[in-house]
């Protein structure tokens, strides 16, 4: 398995060799920022097409077909359209907060993206509390939604924002508990170590029952956390027109739109990290030949493919289920998911302590 840190170390040495230390760090920061933003854009574009095509197939349609071969250039057309659209200022809004909100959301989602492990050695910061950091940053996004809803001075956006607040605060609990369950199993919060712990088999196999329960809880909570159907109440189109971002236009709306798709990738990425081994290839203990073949597939492909798989499941939800109602959604969380997640945490702790796992 190729270690990407060889490349990063080489660049680091090269830069330190030709400029002072602080300048080298600055240049590295810029390079990384450009890479993250590039990845962000490419992923967002890919995800828009991915969802549109999937949704079309679920609905017996073809999806975008006209722009470019098989509609591949449609997303670029959409992107340029949204970039050149006018930002409409509105009367009666809180101008500063109104403009701040999209940036808060996009910042939170870019920061989360930066923490994901893309491959061996392909990680920006390797914190010892990496997973905890991701959870903490993800909570910042909700602030942007609340700001957007409140600053727009519109009843629909306000209701959307209130719903969103209730929803995200609630589901963060199950999300966190599901992750903590896996942290108990892994014995670490360090992202790289979590991946390495899955060298002999992904957690969903080695952790068996409690891991599978945690995975199901995580996927449900993540769907709610990203405001996607059947939990898309904050922007319930048929009740609140577009929920908290009703009043936004142009690229400010685009930021909400991008953040929504990227959050989908990020929660899928975390799921792949916690349950399917992140960039770790599919290994079976003892099958050395098979493991060696699997290692030929680069880690980044593994990671992205797993993330796309989880995204597929979440998109599938959205295009199949009707939307739940706010009280039903909260009841699902507080009456079923959270107690289950707590019980599952205990089960996992027992399994881990007694060594009842593979």
């Amino acid at each position: 398995m190729f270690d990407f840190s060889v490349v990063t170390t080489w660049i680091n040495n090269l830069l330190i060799g030709c400029m002072p230390g602080w300048a080298a760090v600055l240049v590295e920061c810029i390079i990384i920022a450009l890479c993250v933003l590039g990845a962000y854009t490419v992923l967002a574009l890919f995800y828009i097409l991915y969802e549109r095509k999937l949704c079309a197939w679920f609905q017996c349609r073809l999806g975008p077909m006209r722009v470019g071969y098989w509609g591949l250039l449609q997303v670029f057309a959409d992107m340029f359209k949204i970039l050149i659209k006018e930002l409409i200022p509105l009367k009666g809004t809180d101008k500063f907060l109104f403009k701040l909100a999209p940036y808060v959301i996009i910042t939170s989602s870019v920061t989360m993206l930066a923490c994901l492990p893309w491959g061996r050695g392909m990680q920006i910061i390797n914190y010892n509390i990496g997973i905890f950091f991701i959870l903490a940053v993800s909570s910042v996004g909700i602030l942007g939604i609340l700001l957007a809803g409140w600053a727009s001075n519109n009843k629909y956006t306000l209701i959307g924002a209130m719903r969103s607040g209730a929803q995200m605060v609630s589901y963060e609990l199950s999300l966190g508990l599901a992750i903590i369950t896996m942290v108990v199993f892994a014995g670490t919060m360090n992202i790289e170590e979590i991946v390495w712990a899955q060298d002999g088999g992904w957690f969903i196999f080695t952790g068996h029952i409690p891991a599978i329960i945690a995975c199901i809880i995580y996927v449900i909570a993540a769907t709610a956390e990203t405001n996607r159907g059947p939990f898309d109440l904050p922007e319930a189109e048929h009740e609140l027109t577009a929920g908290y971002h009703t009043e936004y236009s142009g690229i400010h709306f685009g930021f909400f739109y991008l953040a929504e798709y990227l959050n989908l990738f990020i929660v899928s990425g975390i799921a792949s990290l916690m349950f399917l081994g992140g960039w770790m290839p599919f290994h079976v203990n003892g099958w050395d030949g098979f493991n060696a073949v699997m290692d030929y597939i680069p880690g980044i492909v593994w990671f992205v493919a797993k993330a796309f798989f989880f995204s597929f499941v979440i998109i599938w939800f959205k295009w199949t289920f009707p939307r739940v109602r706010i009280d039903q959604m909260l009841a699902l969380e507080w009456k079923y998911l959270m107690p289950l997640a707590l019980a599952n945490l205990v089960l996992m702790a027992v399994c881990t302590t007694l060594g009842w796992h593979f």
């Binding site: 009740e239 027109t241 009707p322 009280d327």
Partner: protein
């Protein structure tokens, strides 16, 4: 009939009777309230349904024609005429406390004829702005555009309403009221909103997420069809019917044609009758498929919408081949239908009969059985059978409240007596029951088509109709079962070639009347589901 006459004249000796298609009871205004109470509450009369309430202008007097139905006595109908001679301040006692359906209907009459109803709780205009000058359906209405220019400003104080209270000494006192209290948090839904199914506007007072009151604001696409019809010959009025409830285009037109044929005494050829019934049932399938799609889409299950539309496309193709259009088919004409069936008709209908059961199974698998869909609809928007009758909620919505009200069974018409089908009833009284009635009615419609498709009789498609259609003087009322309930046409003729008064009693007008009742106490998300399950079509309200 004679029996009824006796009873009524015993209760109210001042009435006069006029024989006609239905018995017409003329009652002076001062005795009307007493008679109304008796009609509703007297066990011998027991007219529990107010089928139609029609404002009239007889030039020397203004008034209202009421059509009552008694469900207990085999759906017997009775009409009552109340007239007042005062054109400046005409006032008639309300019946909106006896038959709740009269609430909106009296507002419509007030809007168009300026007749105020004493005791009506909310005497606002229904369709027009409150600053509109004049009453458009009066015969002496001044249509000068300078009087009512296109106003660029919002109407002032749309919360203002009033009610007329009768004092013990007989004098009438006007009391100003407000629709919403100042502390209500009112959310505006519509007129441009993705799930009001057209240009409909609701103002909902909400407490958190709970709806405390719904005010219906209608009239955004009102076209004045009834007024326009008064200036047109009978064949010219036909095309309006396709543009009211466009999902019941065939049924509506069928109804108007039957009403005119009844007045002319025309016998429609058997072939035309069968064709009309088949078209009606195809229309019903198409309408219920749209209702299925929209209900699921309003709940966020967008994919089901496409499934419903996939099958609906087959129906529309059948229409397109025979009628030349997919909407506004303009197929029925006085005396029959305009053109013979397309050669592919039988083949296409058979293909549809083949496909529908499988498609329904798929819908039930994807949506009807889904736990989220059930949670959203079961127990939401309760409408008891008593309320359904009182509000005259017919069609699938009424049958979802277990009220047997299918006009095809109660007043059989055309070829319906010859076909076997069941009247679908559900006991849930909630949105899910209404939804399920529609799904099961598709099966029944397929059954009817199955019986008829191989038995279309040969022969003429049109009866011989005089070149100039002139109805004899008189009044006729005809009902059919449209996709959303009993659709009625009232024609009053003075023997001219244009109708003196043409009134359409649309089912959706009544459906929207129960929005407040069914939504109260539910959540704002339920308002959308309830609206979708009632399935009103806006052009049918805004005639």
């Amino acid at each position: 009939m004679a029996n009824i006459q006796e009873k009524i004249s015993k209760i109210c000796p001042s009435v006069t009777f006029e024989e006609g298609e239905t018995l017409l009871v003329s009652v002076p205004e001062k005795d009307w309230r007493m008679l109304a109470v008796a009609l509703k509450e007297n066990a011998d009369l027991n007219f529990d349904v107010l089928t139609a309430l029609i404002g009239m202008d007889w030039k020397d007097s203004l008034g209202v024609i009421y059509y009552f139905t008694s469900t207990a006595r085999n759906w017997e109908m009775l009409s009552v005429k109340v007239a007042v001679e005062d054109r400046e301040k005409p006032m008639i006692h309300t019946v909106s406390d006896l038959w709740k359906v009269a609430n909106f209907q009296e507002r419509e009459v007030y809007d168009f004829y300026g007749i105020e109803f004493i005791g009506h709780p909310d005497m606002r205009r229904f369709f027009l702005r409150n600053d509109w000058v004049g009453y458009p359906l009066r015969k002496d209405y001044d249509a000068n555009p300078d009087l009512n220019p296109i106003r660029m400003e919002d109407e002032e104080n749309e919360d203002d309403s009033h009610t007329l209270v009768e004092m013990p000494d007989g004098s009438i006192k006007r009391v100003e009221t407000k629709v919403f209290a100042p502390e209500d948090y009112v959310v505006n839904i519509g007129p441009q909103h993705p799930s009001t199914h057209g240009v409909m506007r609701f103002r909902a007072a909400i407490d958190g997420e709970t709806v405390t009151k719904v005010d219906v604001v209608s009239g955004y696409i009102h076209r004045g069809i009834e007024k326009l019809s008064e200036g047109m010959t009978y064949p010219q009025t036909l095309h309006f019917t396709d543009r009211m409830d466009y999902m019941s285009a065939h049924m509506n037109r069928h109804c108007l044609c039957m009403c005119i044929e009844k007045a002319l005494g025309l016998e429609v050829p058997k072939r035309a009758q069968v064709i009309r019934v088949m078209m009606d049932e195809l229309m019903r399938i198409s309408s219920h498929l749209l209702a299925f799609g929209c209900t699921s889409m309003d709940m966020g299950a967008t994919t089901c919408f496409f499934y419903g539309f996939r099958e609906r496309e087959m129906v529309l193709d059948i229409f397109e081949k025979t009628c030349g259009a997919r909407m506004s088919m303009n197929y029925n004409v006085i005396g029959g239908v305009i053109a013979d069936l397309h050669p592919d008709f039988v083949k296409d209908v058979k293909a549809l009969i083949e496909v529908m059961p499988k498609a329904l199974k798929e819908y039930h698998k994807v949506f009807s059985g889904n736990v989220i869909a059930k949670n959203r609809m079961v127990g939401v928007g309760m409408l008891s059978k008593e309320d359904a009758i009182n509000y005259d909620i017919t069609g699938p919505s009424g049958r979802g409240s277990n009220w047997s009200c299918d006009t095809r069974k109660k007043h059989p018409y055309s070829a319906y007596p010859d076909v076997q089908f069941e009247e679908v009833l559900e006991e849930g009284c909630d949105s899910y029951a209404r939804y399920m009635v529609r799904m099961r009615e598709i099966e029944e419609s397929v059954k009817i088509l199955e019986q008829l498709v191989d038995n279309i009789p040969e022969g003429e498609i049109r009866a011989q109709v005089p070149k100039i259609v002139k109805l004899p003087a008189g009044r006729w009322y005809q009902q059919v079962e449209a996709s959303r309930g009993a659709f009625g046409v009232y024609i009053e003729s003075t023997g001219e070639k244009t109708p003196y008064r043409l009134h359409f009693q649309s089912p959706c007008f009544n459906l929207v009347g129960v929005m407040d009742l069914t939504c109260r106490g539910n959540m704002i998300a339920d308002l959308i589901v309830i609206g979708a399950a009632l399935d009103f079509v806006i052009p049918d309200i805004d005639r």
